[in-house]
Amino acid sequence: MIGLISEQLDKLVREDRGRIMATLMAQFGDLDRCEEAFQDAQALAMRAWFRGVPDNARAWILTTARRRAIDSIRREQCFQHVVSDLSEEFSSELCLPISEEELDEFSLPDERLKLLLICCHPALEEKTSVALSLRFIAGLTTIEIARAFLDKPATIGQRITRAKSKIRLSGIRYGMPTHEQLDVRIAAVLKVIYFIFNEGYACQQGDGQLRLDLCEEALYLAELVSQLQPNNAEAQGLLALMQLSYARSAARQSDEGLFIPLELQNRELWNGELISSACQRLERALELGELGPYQLQASIGAIHCEAKTFSCTDWPQIVMMYRLLFKCQTNDVVLLNLFVAESYIYGAEYGLHKIEPLSRSLSAYQPFHAARAELLSKLARFDEAVKAYGQALALTSVVSEKRYLQMQKQQVMIRKEESKED
């Protein structure tokens, strides 16, 4: 029973964390206080729900968290000998249990955008913003965030603690920024949304399910930003990019939970409707005349989506897009993608030669080793390919990816045996 309750509580927290946090923040404006109250409420739920999870579980959690937050304000006020009218007002309201309708009213989307804006404040380091948003809006654990960052959980934990204290003390206000500030703030938000999307798109839990709820969360937030900023080309570009990826998610995984690379995907399973609306959105974004990395990546996605089969892929155009992208985003991951795309035009030998110099900077990046392994196996350099698959395997904890890489590795070993027999 306890196990079942804890499971249901985990599910609830995961799904509604952003909404509950945003609602608490709207009332109390202090990230630290809200999180503590939220955690207290979960701990209390575990004790109070021993007979079973109540129907209005979300409202229960929210009410309890609010009461805890009020308690903590009272304790501080006692300490400081300060009396606030605000707290009196809260307390009378808090004696009454709140209904699901009220909860829905509190979870208006702009509350979540405000929470996102505070997590992505430009006075915070970007990596900190990503960690805060993943923690408070997406509801990821510190361990999951650490894995996404190739970082230690303790480091991320410290980062979040420091950030909460900076937000509390530095005068970062919880609310909508002015119109002119919104532009800068939105750019920071877009980056974080894309990160959340990628977490959902790439990260699969042990049971082999795509973390589509996170993708949908990111899409929802991107749609919200795109509605608020209809003339922000990158906001539209990001939404198009994510939609183009999401439209293909059904084809990315087999019934057995195996990862399927683009090359082997059944394109019939792609969501054509979503693809065409994303392409229309992308075209409108491009017409705004402010090219940026999201629009370029969306363009690459669109080119893939236009190809009827993998062999029809317009690689020269994709290479051109990656070159433009490298001008906006000078980093080795973009170079890796560029060189892999070029290898489809100039051959595996060329591709391998180009990616080797990236081995130091991308040594902890799983796709580098997987790409290198594939190029080596195309060149029949089996022993090296097996070793590279091993390196890739050591860097992934995603089950379906692991199984895919293991299968690839085995195939290389079989090919090696066959080549000996010949």
Partner: protein, 115 residues
């Protein structure tokens, strides 16, 4: 909410004394101070004498020990400050970006601790 804007810059990157650029900077500082006052955010603001005039004091075993020079030897030196009253960090940062030295130096913005 009070914010202290600490103005740091390298002396060699600042306009030289008695040049048109120096006059320009002075004019800009006067204009910005006026703007801060007009917007009602100005509490205080001063420029400091050169860091070579600094004397540092510390008391050890009830004895004041003096050191001829700044607390920290850094390339960027504290040259002045504004104490501003702003509604939030966003507003404080907006005003800080208008401080002339921000163009060649760095302005560090810190909220004043309320006890």
């Amino acid at each position: 909410m009070k914010f202290l804007a600490l103005i740091y810059s390298q002396p060699e990157s600042e306009p030289e004394y008695n040049t048109p650029e120096w006059d320009e900077m002075l004019k800009d500082y006067m204009a910005i101070t006026e703007e801060f006052k007009r917007d009602g955010v100005f509490i205080a603001g001063e420029g400091l004498q050169d860091v070579s005039t600094a004397t540092s004091v510390k008391v050890r075993v009830n004895q004041a020990e003096l050191h001829d020079g700044p607390f920290a030897e850094t390339k960027e030196q504290l040259g002045g400050f504004y104490l501003l009253d702003c509604k939030d960090l966003d507003q404080a940062l907006q005003y800080a970006a208008k401080i002339p030295s921000a163009k060649w130096g760095t302005v560090e913005v810190r909220p004043v601790a309320e006890y």
